[in-house]
């Protein structure tokens, strides 16, 4: 029999016992819906994480440090490279070279130092980090109160929430909910802070009341105590512990301003042999790539220059592994319902054989081959699978929408911005319908074989 004829006959047979076949098809729909729901949750979560990570600016960033920094760490990959003592120094020349590599959008030094900030005449010791203007779009500053630095050299400062609490003397004891950022912002924005810092300078400056000249192994530079007035322009609601890179600090300065201050950094002591030159030496620099997909190539190029690199891509690879396992689990649980539904198909078709015994006998008597009968039952199973699959996808999508909607209402009530953590990509739609079809055909194997082998004489005698 030809396929259109088979389909037509199969659909007409399904219509004949509409209730039973509908119930079976609904069973398949539920199975497919659960599969779609599970897998779309997995996909949605993965997309959410990827989106979040991309926004965090970590996905397109490579952290470069000198191998000299790795002294004594002895990791295998490090041992393969040049000896730490002989490798290149991460100085301005190296930074500029990296910035001119293909696909690199910027390379900026990670400036980070601990120093004292005075606010209303009280000193506070904290970690300060410098941010480039490109950090403006960083996810970490999404809920920034106030505004980002007006320029790269402005004497402005952004505070992390916990530091703002400290300044106001409002640090809550453990277990007590933290005050809202907006509450902290009002008394702090536009106020002035005084930063006291140690400036590293090659020529001693007698006017600044220097701490004295360092003279170690022939290289000399002086450390001068300086002060800088800073205006508080923003309060950021971010958790410094959750982040890597420049956002792991409690106070942020514009990058160019920080660079111009020539603040003494811990590395300076270690890089003493190079300190004779006037060039600044960085402990690490952040390299931003134009597109996350180019990270690997840029990373390799920087490694070839003799530096150590780290990118979140390494971490995201293990994240992808986690998602693969999650997918498998969700898929297995989702498929369970479909497995139950497939038993329903077997049951329905075996019942159909009993009911249509005579009809099968008639068809055989007038010339239907075993193959025709088998194909007809297969077509019925397949049709139930495809119809169930289509409805299941719609159903699963609807479940996802409802749960998404419900969860976002909850998130809103907890004043967390709504998220889209449910995604039904096209490949999932096609896969779900195809999978339902294949499962149905497998379920149809036994009934179809049984119908095909039916003895026409017996079948026709049957009343």
């Amino acid at each position: 029999m030809k396929l259109p004829d088979l389909t037509e006959l199969a659909l007409r047979n399904l219509r004949e016992s509409i209730l039973r076949n509908s119930l079976t098809t609904i069973g398949i729909s539920v199975g497919v819906a659960s599969l779609v729901a599970m897998l779309s949750l997995g996909t949605g979560l993965q997309q959410l994480f990827t989106r979040r990570l991309a926004k965090s600016g970590l996905f397109d960033t490579i952290y470069v440090s000198s191998r000299r920094e790795m002294r004594g760490m002895g990791r295998a990959e490090e041992r393969n490279g040049p000896l730490p003592g002989e490798s290149r120094v991460l100085d301005e020349a190296a930074r500029s070279e990296i910035e001119h590599l293909a696909n690199v959008s910027e390379a900026y030094p990670d400036i980070r130092f601990a120093t004292e900030l005075r606010f209303e005449d009280k000193p506070h010791l904290t970690m300060i980090s410098a941010l480039p203007q490109s950090a403006r779009t960083n996810d970490a500053f999404e809920n920034l109160q106030g505004h980002f630095f007006s320029s790269d050299t402005a004497p402005e400062v952004i505070l992390q929430k916990s530091f703002a609490e400290e300044l106001l003397g409002k640090t809550p004891p453990l277990g007590v909910p933290e005050p809202a950022v907006s509450e902290l912002a009002a008394p702090l924005l536009d106020k002035e802070l005084t930063m006291r810092y140690a400036q590293r300078s090659t020529t001693a400056d007698p006017t600044a009341g220097g701490l004295g000249a360092s003279d170690i192994s022939g290289a000399s530079y002086s450390v001068v105590s300086r002060e800088q007035q800073l205006k508080i322009v923003g309060i950021a609601d971010l958790d410094p512990e959750s982040m890597r890179g420049p956002t792991r600090a409690r106070v942020f300065l514009p990058l160019k301003l920080a660079e111009s201050l020539h603040v003494m950094q811990p590395t300076d002591l270690r890089e003493i042999s190079r300190a004779a030159s006037n060039e600044p030496v960085y402990s690490s620099i952040s390299v931003r790539v134009k597109n996350p997909s180019q990270i690997q190539g840029v990373e390799d190029a920087i490694k070839k220059m003799g530096f150590t690199t780290f990118s979140i891509l390494d971490a995201s690879r293990s994240l992808q592994q986690v998602f693969k396992v999650l997918y498998a689990f969700l898929g297995i649980f989702g498929s369970l319902a479909l497995a139950v539904a497939s038993i329903g198909i077997v049951n329905t078709l075996v019942m159909a054989i009993l009911e249509r015994r005579r009809e099968i006998g008639i068809m055989k008597a007038i010339g239907a081959s075993d193959g025709d009968v088998r194909k007809l039952f297969f077509a019925e199973a397949g049709a139930m699978g495809i119809i169930g699959g289509i409805f299941g996808v719609i159903f699963g999508w609807a479940i996802g929408q409802v749960i998404n909607f419900g969860t976002n209402i909850y998130l809103k009530s907890q004043s967390i911005p709504p998220e889209h953590f449910w995604a039904v990509p096209w490949w999932l739609v096609a896969f779900a319908i195809g999978f339902a079809f294949v499962v149905s055909l497998i379920s149809g194997l036994y009934p179809a074989g049984r119908a095909a082998r039916l003895d026409p004489v017996q079948a026709l005698r049957y009343e």
Binding site: K2, I362, A365, I366
Partner: protein, 246 residues
């Protein structure tokens, strides 16, 4: 159209030849000899009636000729084909192209209209849709059911249903028309109508007709040859001069 392999035989005059054919089956401990060593030769174009009481094996013999069942011993050769040697697939093709069958209980598929019932064998023969419909219409017109094409069997009288079954049996232009008690469920008037049609097809289309019946009078009125069975054995075989119209 026909792909059933033929075996070469010098005797081409015989449409059906059974040689010592038996169909035995077991029912628990007892062996039932439904057909027990029947040898029979039916000439092409003959109208033959298989007579016997119920359980005599006449329907079993018809099923063997129809290729619905296989003999346990002996052979049935139809149009030079040894049915016992055909595969299941070939046997299905044989039933599709060589044989047309009508039954006592009509055996139309209740969920289909008459037109669909009649075109069903053409679907199995993979005839194109357009051709299928025109052939089915013609066949139903031939049996006088032009006005009933889109009715379901349940909406029709017994006589009309049997005529539709005849239309279906003829749709693939078979060489052999096998009828199992075709008038058994009909009153005598409609039964006569059906029998007249059978005779018409036998005479005008040159079709070999084998009819199973237990009504001797009916057989004597239409058949050219009467074969009597009892307990699966052939007990009498005589030619008959069919009576006139009722």
């Amino acid at each position: 159209m026909t792909t059933v392999p033929a075996i070469s035989s010098p005797n081409t005059a015989a449409a059906i030849r059974s040689e010592n054919v038996s169909r035995h089956y077991r029912m628990g401990e007892t062996l039932i000899r439904a057909v027990d060593g029947v040898s029979l030769e039916v000439k092409a174009g003959e109208f033959l009636a298989l007579l016997g009481s119920s359980g005599s094996g006449k329907s079993s013999l018809l099923n063997l000729i129809a290729g619905l069942d296989r003999p346990t011993a002996g052979s049935v050769i139809v149009q030079d084909r040894d049915l016992a040697r055909l595969s299941r697939e070939e046997l299905a093709k044989y039933r599709l192209h060589i044989v047309g069958m009508v039954f006592q209980s009509f055996n139309l598929i209740p969920s289909m209209t008459l037109l669909e019932n009649v075109e069903l064998p053409l679907r199995f023969a993979e005839v194109d849709r357009g051709e299928r419909e025109s052939l089915s219409r013609k066949s139903l017109e031939q049996v006088g059911l032009k006005a009933r094409l889109h009715h379901r069997p349940s909406e029709l009288s017994g006589g009309e249903q049997q005529r539709a079954a005849l239309a279906r049996a003829l749709i693939n232009k078979p060489k052999l028309l096998l009828a199992d008690e075709p008038t058994g469920n009909l009153d005598s008037h409609t039964g006569t109508e059906i029998m007249d049609m059978l005779r018409e097809f036998n005479r005008e289309l040159g079709m070999t007709v084998v009819m199973v019946t237990h009504e001797r009078a009916l057989a004597e009125r239409y058949a050219e040859r009467l074969v009597f069975l009892a307990d699966g054995k052939l007990i009498d075989d005589r030619s008959n001069v069919p009576g006139g119209h009722a």
